[in-house]
């Protein structure tokens, strides 16, 4: 630095204090180093009057420096300054003329060592943890098949579109309610908490709180105490998807489930349609199996009846009919096998199964089911009247018919 030696020229001049101080100020302010400097030290004598400006002294073992942070700058600073903090302050050196005090006018600060925001994050986290906001017992299970999914996020962000795409693909059966919020900036905590409450009034089954990736500062709203408390108080399970895999916010800790990303959150709340297909397919199998085994039972009953008829009836004329009955039993069994074979051979596609699974497979063999006009299956011609309307169902289609004559005495086959 250039040495300034102006005092010799001034020795004989008598100056007013104001003039000298103004002169000193101009000297300091014309020095480039002093107008753009980082200063390291420890905070002491911290004072935060109601004006919103912040005053403190930066000290080390050998010296101290008065510092000022104007209110406009103070508002931009995140985190709490505390006495004893080791910091680096950036700004310019000038003189407060009234007190003849040179000082650092701070425009930004950082913690030496650990990051500033991180320090704040840890402090708030410890406090809320103490309160039990992050307790594992508080975590609620997510509904397996949500009908309505609430999403709190920026309405313009890519994150929202990503999530909607996932839901569209995996689980289009649900309805989505989007509650728009600002996800960064000073108003973010307020709009996020309002959106959370608003979406809960719509009574969704689950709520996603999401934001795409960004810097630690961008994600800071999700470390805001108001947001964290709103999540903890939310009557509906909340899933967070904030930033990237590596980002952890206090909102994540308070949520019922933390997903690594917005997309991950959408996956977490939605069952996969493929899983549903498999589940449905299994249930259809069970339906066919249950019906098949019921048919088995009925066939067995028929066998037994045949046997008894054969042995108990003194009438040899049933011999003839017995052959028909054997045939019928055989066909019923084949129909049964047919159903089982179809069940095993079914393809992945659900469509196209329906015809194959027709419960009336027995009818394919040429039998018909006759019902009366009330839809009751007719087992006996006793009680039928000539001229009565009946409905006949065939393997393919059906037709209405009229009874011309009833023969209730005709022997049972």
């Amino acid at each position: 630095m250039e040495q300034r030696s102006f005092l010799p020229y001034l020795r004989t001049i008598s100056l007013r204090v104001s003039d000298l101080t103004l002169y000193l100020r101009q000297v300091l302010e014309s020095d480039l180093l002093l107008q753009d400097v980082w200063v390291q030290g420890e905070i002491s004598n911290l004072s935060r009057p109601s004006s919103g400006h912040i005053y403190f002294t930066l000290k080390d073992e050998g010296a101290s420096l008065r510092c000022v942070i104007w209110r406009s700058t103070a508002q931009r600073l995140r985190g709490n300054l505390q006495n004893g903090m080791a910091v680096e302050a950036h700004g310019r050196i000038s003189i407060y003329e009234r007190d003849g005090q040179y000082q650092l006018y701070v425009d930004s600060m950082r913690l030496t060592g650990e990051g500033w925001l991180y320090q704040e994050f840890l402090r708030l986290k410890a406090r809320l943890e103490q309160e039990g906001l992050f307790d594992p017992e508080r975590k609620r299970p997510l509904p397996p098949h949500p009908k309505v999914v609430g999403i709190v996020t920026s309405p313009t962000g890519a994150a929202l579109q990503d999530m909607l795409n996932i839901l569209r693909d995996r689980y289009p059966l649900c309805e989505v309610i989007v509650a728009p919020a600002q996800v960064q900036g000073d108003n973010a905590p307020l709009t996020i908490t309002a959106a959370l409450r608003a979406v809960c009034r719509q009574n969704p089954d689950v709520v996603i709180l999401a934001r795409g990736g960004g810097s630690l500062e961008d994600l800071w709203a999700f470390n805001d105490e108001r947001v964290v408390r709103a999540i903890a108080e939310c009557p509906i399970p909340v899933v967070t998807g904030i930033g990237h895999e590596t980002d952890f916010t206090l909102s994540d800790f308070a949520a019922d489930l933390r997903a690594p990303t917005p997309t991950g959150a959408a996956v977490a709340v939605s069952p996969d349609r493929d899983d549903l297909r498999r589940e449905l397919s299994g249930t259809i199998d069970a339906l066919a199996a249950a019906f098949g085994s019921r048919l088995d039972q009925l066939t067995g009953d028929l066998d037994e009846a045949t046997y008894r008829l054969d042995h108990l009836s003194p009438l040899r004329r049933v011999e003839n009919d017995r052959q028909r009955l054997d045939d019928l039993v055989e066909r019923a069994k084949r129909a049964q096998k047919h159903i089982l074979a179809l069940r095993q051979a079914r393809s992945q596609a659900l469509a196209g199964r329906w015809a194959a699974l027709n419960p009336l497979a027995v009818l394919q063999r040429g039998y018909a089911v006759v019902t009366d006009t009330a839809g009751r299956v007719l087992h006996s011609s006793a009680g039928l009247q000539a001229g009565q309307d009946v409905h006949v169902r065939l393997a393919e289609g059906a037709f209405d018919a009229q009874v011309t004559a009833a023969h209730p005495d005709q022997p049972h086959p």
Binding site: H145, K147, P155, L164, L167, R168, P172, L173, C174, E175, V176, I177, V178, A179, P180, N187, L190, T191, T193, A194, A195, R197, A198, V199, R201, Q202, R273, L276, R277, E279, L280, T283, I284, A286, L287, A290, F291, S293, R294, L295, Q297, L298, L350, A351, W354, L357, P359, L360, R376, V377
Partner: protein
Amino acid sequence: MEPTAVEELSYEQAFAELEEIVRLLETDSKTLEESLALFERGQALARRCAQLLEQAELRIRQLTGEDLTYEDED
């Protein structure tokens, strides 16, 4: 009790009824016509589920000004 037309059932409702029918067929000794009726109902429900699964369109609604209040609530 008159069963609801399958077209009016949600996926969850249709699937729950389908499971109930399977249970009934497995545990109760129904007559042939009852079993047949249950099976047919079950098929209709399964078809409804499959249709919903394949044809559903995601419905999206965005909350607007009157739903959202930004005043500082405590």
